[in-house]
Symmetry: C2
Subunit: 138 residues, 2 copies
């Protein structure tokens, strides 16, 4: 169609400046790193290799599906290494690769920050909510 719709114009504009951020591969990588399970799994592997079932226990609340799915992604991205031992009950171990190890301290820092500052955040929330309530009654 010749008529330039608003949607088409927006799409065209997107192609341009998304090169800066949205389409950049590093942006997609950042998105995957910003997965709730990734940080937990990587930090769980800080102490060395772990079996699948160990991970499932450590990262409590993760479903089998998400654990497998996330691990596959991390393996594919070269962050974790997977070893299959073909014993009678199969044994599978996961451990950080050098690349994964280089990311570990950053992830651990975020996790630690969350643990250290959760109280500050909760305090801020109370103040914010109180402010909202006050505005409402005003």
């Amino acid at each position: 169609m010749a008529t330039t719709t608003a949607a088409a114009r927006r799409a065209a504009a997107k192609q341009e400046y998304d090169a800066y951020v949205a389409q950049c591969p590093s942006r997609k990588l950042l998105d995957t790193l910003s997965d709730k399970w990734v940080s937990l799994i990587l930090t769980a592997l800080a102490g060395g290799s772990m079996r699948y079932s160990d991970l499932a226990r450590t990262v409590a609340g993760v479903s089998q599906k998400m654990l497998t799915q996330t691990l596959r992604g991390l393996e594919r991205d070269g962050l974790v290494f997977r070893t299959v031992t073909a014993s009678v009950p199969v044994r599978v171990d996961y451990e950080l690769t050098p690349l994964g190890t280089s990311l570990l301290p950053l992830m651990a820092a975020i996790k630690e920050w969350a643990e250290c500052h959760i109280e500050d955040v909760e305090l801020a929330r109370e103040r914010y909510d109180a402010g909202q309530a006050a505005e409402k009654s005003a």
Copy 2:
């Protein structure tokens, strides 16, 4: 009902060991920090306060809804500060609070890591995919 269903038993078990991770407030905070927009918005504010429209332009690809929603969350959590200037066209500025500033370097580090190691990751992916293809034909 008196019959203990599998689902009920699982729910009860969850209550127990989720206290360690899943129910911990810091876990929820970690989840919000693991939002794709949070890291981008926080790092965008590294250089000082920015207007709403500036943020929208810098963090390309973010919808109005998500930008506002994320900013509200960050404000509530005490990570960013919001200033409204009641001029004729309203002007709203956002800037990092001290708390947000303390988190900034960690977020910036993750973003930088993604930018620096995206090539390693893509190489790992190629190798992984090649391996998968080889397995399939075997």
